[in-house]
């Protein structure tokens, strides 16, 4: 016998307890400035020689850095930069490369020469390697990789030349907007609550059990996955983390290891499936924002 809750449709306004500050919001077609001194960045455009005005082409916040004006949209597809960590799904297996879908404008490419061969050997890829590509990565597999290069047309070239990257298994994928992932030095964390997390820059978050990572220390190239059964306590931790991340993403809180841990701690008083309720979600996110503010205040005092 399960309790069923049905919510009637109505307009719910989330209380903005925190000030937006002096952010300058624009919508498409708004004139940002009539001054010709500024350089046009992303999200802006000019109509032509007769008209000097700078217009906005997206809805978002205007950012001005010295003489550069750009408008940052709230949601957008992922635009890669060299060195970013991405999590993607294999879409196609082509002649010497895999096509990976990474929530960007065009699919990314993983060359056969950019992966580690099993056994860790360093040699030229032969025709046999090409024929065996499907045994390494098949269509539908999830991988973590790093951006090696951004081509002229915007296509990302990925590589998995480290033991940290490779095929992913035994975990949960959460998809959020790429703008919510904070850029930091480290994106792969072993959280203190008992699970590990990869916060990929393209908005794909991978949550998995920590004990798994100790097995990839060998030189297997990251393509061997183990199918051992995960105990239920670990699964619960992963589910709870997934629900917390979804709550934070709903309220557009920036995601990084500290904010996720605060949300996790705030959620321990509820059952995992209660976190899907709107009111519980609001409460947890408010607590997280409060704790983050306290931490910020603490940092500023030093």
């Amino acid at each position: 016998m399960s309790n069923i809750t049905i919510r009637l449709p109505s307009t719910r306004r989330t209380q903005n307890q925190y000030e937006t500050g002096n952010s300058y919001l624009v919508t498409p077609g708004d004139v940002i400035t009539e001054d010709t001194d500024y350089m046009r960045g992303h999200g802006t455009y000019c109509t032509g020689d007769a008209d000097d005005r700078l217009y906005s082409s997206v809805a978002g916040v205007v950012e001005r850095i010295n003489k550069l004006i750009c408008v940052r949209a709230l949601k957008s597809r992922y635009t890669g930069e060299v060195g970013d960590i991405v999590v993607g799904r294999v879409k196609e297996v082509q002649q010497k490369r895999w096509k990976i879908e990474t929530n960007s404008r065009l699919d990314s490419i993983l060359q056969l020469s950019s992966v580690n061969l099993p056994g860790g050997e360093l040699r030229r890829r032969s025709a046999t390697d090409e024929l065996n590509m499907r045994s390494y990565l098949n269509e539908g597999d999830l991988i973590s990789a790093e951006v090696q290069q951004v081509n002229v047309d915007g296509i990302l070239s990925l590589h998995t030349r480290s033991l940290r990257y490779g095929k992913l298994s035994q975990g949960c994928l959460v998809i959020v907007s790429p703008s919510l992932i904070k850029r930091r030095k480290n994106h792969i964390h072993n959280l203190s609550c008992g699970a590990s997390i990869i916060l990929a820059n393209n908005g794909y978050i991978w949550i998995y059990t920590t004990q798994h990572s100790s097995q990839t220390e060998e030189g297997d190239g990251g393509f061997i996955i183990s199918n051992e059964s995960i105990p239920i306590e670990d699964r619960e931790i992963i589910c709870r983390l997934r629900n917390c991340i979804k709550c934070l993403a709903k309220r557009s809180v920036v995601l990084y290891d500290t904010s996720i841990l605060y949300a996790y701690e705030a959620s321990t008083s509820y059952k995992v499936k209660q976190l899907l309720d709107d009111e519980v979600c609001d409460e947890i996110v408010n607590k997280t924002i409060y704790l983050l503010q306290q931490a910020n205040v603490g940092n500023n005092e030093y």
Partner: protein, 247 residues
């Protein structure tokens, strides 16, 4: 049957230059890149945007090297009209509407920024009561803004009809069937440009100016409502507020 009563009111109680009640919402689907829902009176339309993304296999032939191409699919639910009618995906009216909306947005979206990509616009009519094209365009505009796709300006559309030398704005289904000419147009309100116009029926050349003015005013009213509803600024504010604390 009179479209305008002697006191100057229409069939549903509106004055000739009044719009129907507009209600809209953005971000209704979390799965799509952008989505919106709009109600104009009884006409209810859902729009979902996917993109820009890599062109799917069956659309590979339409890929352009210097800009993205827009793929539009329009569908009317069986229960949307007074009579329950099964409509197939590729029927004449659906294809017509898709082509018109695709044309409209190719003029408004900055396609040169997304070469070799595809943007999908999916429209679903839940309840049709006149001005279908206009509601679809308004819904698609909101959904494109929600998706963060670069556009030159909003695109607002409105319809008008002419009877007894008065122009009626925002036609509903009964007024459509009455047999007068119906003029729809989509404009970019801030840049003040008409990007699409369509006339069904016949009018005299001298009446055209009056109709175009009426429709332009109607579009600007719709723009004011969409902007004033602060649907977009609300969305922006909620997303910006926690972020400004620790970025």
């Amino acid at each position: 049957f009179e479209l305008i009563s002697d006191e100057g009111y229409r069939f549903d109680g509106r004055k000739p230059s009044e719009l129907r009640r507009v209600r809209c919402n953005m971000g209704v689907f979390t799965q799509a890149d952008g989505s919106a829902y709009i109600e104009q009176g009884n006409t209810k339309v859902l729009a979902a945007i996917y993109g820009p993304h890599e062109a799917s296999n069956n659309m590979r032939s339409r890929v352009c090297l210097d800009k993205c191409f827009i793929n539009c699919e329009f569908s009317q639910a069986m229960f949307s009209s007074a009579e329950r009618k099964k409509r197939s995906r590729g029927d004449r009216k659906g294809k017509d509407m898709s082509a018109h909306i695709k044309q409209t947005f190719e003029a408004a979206v900055r396609t040169q920024l997304y070469p070799r990509s595809q943007i999908d616009i999916y429209l679903q009519v839940l309840h049709s009561d006149g001005s279908l094209y206009c509601a679809c365009v308004n819904a698609a505009t909101l959904a494109l803004i929600d998706a963060g796709i670069a556009m030159k300006d909003y695109v607002c559309a409105c319809s008008a009809s002419l009877t007894k030398e008065t122009s009626l704005i925002d036609i509903n289904h009964v007024e459509e069937l009455a047999g007068c000419a119906e003029f729809s147009a989509a404009i970019m309100p801030k840049l003040d440009q008409i990007i699409y116009s369509e006339l069904n029926g016949r009018i005299h050349q001298d009446e055209l100016g009056q109709l175009v003015d009426a429709v332009t005013n109607g579009c600007k009213d719709i723009f004011a409502v969409i902007d004033r509803f602060e649907v977009i600024t609300d969305n922006t504010e909620i997303a910006v507020s926690p972020r400004s604390l620790h970025s």
